[in-house]
Symmetry: C2
Subunit: 410 residues, 2 copies
């Protein structure tokens, strides 16, 4: 009931998001890698804000921030992440954290609401040191061994050193308390153009697609770029380039309507202008919500690799390093977001899968989970030009707070 019940304060939400943007600002976006100084400042910012929402703040041993409530009754966990990709957008992560904070500020002091909203900022959703380390730690799926081995993908700093630099060395990690939460709700920018092109305000997420990732390694023969004749070369970099082009030619006939695949990282060894690469590695990713499509593409990947090994001059190995499972969002939570969208966004919502991975997929394995999207201008994501119209940010906050209220039964 927008007219009678306290709702989100849009100006407060925008002010908070801009305060977070000022920490690690890069052009109109941010450069806030996990465990960087601006990331540390952002965690501290949240710690200072949580008491104002009736929540006791903690940072745990993996860099997750929690705001917990002593109020009796049902508790809804809400949040997202505060670090960014390198030189990327200002809303990817912080939007969901500030919405959660705002929901707590509005609802935790509203006597008509049962229980409370609790807030979480999950560490390293963006994968600088691993894959969903913060939320996966919370659901009990990260070992100390994994943390010992983790390194910053950009500069190679070990995660142990980074945790020490953050003042978190030796601190305990917090895992989920069974039965404490009625569920988890997360808001995020869409990172695509479905909402914008349909002139919609809210995406009600139905599922999060699975991500399958492969390390594809080529071995040739390192040699001198001036003295080795073309005819006798075994150039691992060229073998990699041919592999990428072959995938581009043959995947379309085998994929599903929503399948996407990406080679995001390539390394030549040793990577010097006067040396023929003796080794080359690519990280290759496939996303779909249909495991049978993935199985078909994985088979094709191995066929192409077998052809390389049969024909030479280089050899290749394909190693699966990540197996995705699609995560389904809770039906009741989807209904709550839809109802909130009718109340605050004129019903301009659509049900849609998420092509991107989110912490909600980790939480969905132990409790009911839901997600809400707001539009991304031009569909741009993971780049500093990523943006959302202020009006859409405010509408999203109102819908989010109302959805939390409905889930708590306020």
């Amino acid at each position: 009931m927008p007219d009678t019940q306290p709702s989100a304060d849009g100006m407060r939400v925008l002010a908070d998001l801009n305060a977070l943007r000022a920490l690690g600002a890069y052009k109109t976006g941010v450069h806030k890698p996990t465990f960087s100084e601006p990331h540390r400042q952002s965690l501290d910012w949240l710690v200072r804000k949580l008491p104002g929402a009736g929540l006791a703040p903690t940072i745990d041993g993996i860099g997750n921030v929690f705001g917990t409530s002593a109020t009796p009754g049902p508790k809804l966990l809400a949040g997202s992440h505060l670090e960014s990709q390198n030189y990327a957008g200002w809303l990817d992560g912080p939007l969901g954290v500030v919405y959660a904070l705002e929901a707590a500020r509005v609802l935790n002091i509203d006597p008509s609401v049962k229980g409370a909203v609790e807030v979480a900022a999950w560490c390293d959703e963006e994968g600088h040191f691993g894959s969903f380390l913060g939320s996966r730690s919370y659901i009990g799926q990260v070992s100390e061994t994994e943390i010992n081995a983790a390194r910053d993908r950009t500069d190679g700093r070990t995660m142990r050193d980074a945790l020490g630099d953050m003042g978190l060395a030796g601190r305990a990690r917090i895992t989920a308390e069974p039965g404490r939460h009625v569920g988890y709700l997360e808001a995020h920018i869409e990172q695509g153009d479905t909402l914008e092109s349909g002139q919609l305000a809210i995406g009600v997420v139905t599922s999060i697609v699975g991500i399958w990732q492969y390390r594809i390694d080529f071995t040739g023969e390192q040699n001198h770029a001036g003295t080795t004749r073309m005819a006798v070369r075994k150039d691992a970099g060229l073998a990699l380039a041919k592999f990428c082009v072959t995938i581009d030619q043959r995947f379309p006939a085998a994929c599903g309507p929503r399948t996407v695949w990406t080679t995001g990282r390539v390394t030549l060894d040793p990577g010097a202008p006067s040396i023929i690469p003796g080794g080359a590695e690519m990280l290759f990713q496939i996303r779909d919500d249909d495991p049978s499509v993935i199985a078909r593409l994985e088979e094709l990947l191995r066929i192409v690799a077998d052809e390389v090994n049969a024909n030479g001059p280089c050899t290749v190995t394909v190693e699966k390093i990540r197996t995705g499972a699609p995560a389904m969002m809770n039906a009741g939570f989807q209904d709550a977001i839809d109802a909130a969208s009718k109340a605050f966004a004129g019903g301009r919502s659509i049900r849609m899968p998420s092509g991107a991975g989110h912490d909600a997929q980790m939480l969905a394995t132990i409790m009911p989970a839901g997600m809400l999207f707001v539009p991304s201008i031009g569909g741009i994501s993971h780049h500093w030009t990523e943006n959302t119209a202020d009006a859409d940010i405010v509408t999203g906050a109102e819908v989010f707070v109302d959805a939390c209220r409905r889930i708590l039964g306020g």
Copy 2:
């Protein structure tokens, strides 16, 4: 006259080369990047050895080591370099320095020899911070501005910081003294398999091929690897892969018999597994001793780039960042090496161009220059398995010392 004149002491040469291998040893090779600790130790090693050859040692402000003689008469400059590529071979560089040191030890105390051999170890021939910085500085072609801008290609350390770490900050650079030297002689491993496959002991270098280098930059659109449909992607990494494959298909019809081309380094921007690369860069190199062949290939490179720009979805720019000019070796020096080869290697020599660049090409622009190659086992170069048989190393030293004697007129 091998029977009557003092010649190289093969065991001393091998002992010196192994002493240098022990500094920065990596498996059977070395990891001795420019201005690393083992590189510093190697320069100091040479400084300690030079007085034993009747030479006064100096390290100049760019890390060049010189051994200069006070003896009247003609002076022949001889040398090579002491740093290595990363995790590379033990002889690439040190062989020529130790041969020069040995020639000085033998000839500078021989009363039948006129004048003296002076020794140089040129800094950064391997291009960690730039292109032939040491020898190019000696011929007066390196500005302070260039040094200010130079960075280690592996870790980004500035050259100024590195010079400071070496204790060389503020030290003057030494440039060639006009008329001091009758010429420059350098020995090096072949880095190819011409000598080994012909069962030859000595390569008499006729010319050093030119190197043309290009920075080829692709611009697409950075976006999220999960939410961006394949149909609307502008993947700069894929555009780069296609470019490499097109070159591989079309260069063979336009190249010369000895032309080689190499993509040694590739960078995707931002290089994260879940981000479609918005930018991609490759360093591309062509080598030939015929500028007309280069002109033809450069034209083809631009045609292929024009096709990319016309067809999309990415754009590409081709920037020439290095223009090579073939360097001719002095005819009299070639004759001297051939004569020495007849005396000490049973005439098992061949005249051949060098496909690799060497400091000799810089020295050749200001004085007569010559080069001598010894065989490389399996033609392997720029890898820690690079090697030369001990017997070939000793024969090469004997030929080198005798060639120096002949040039000085001993």
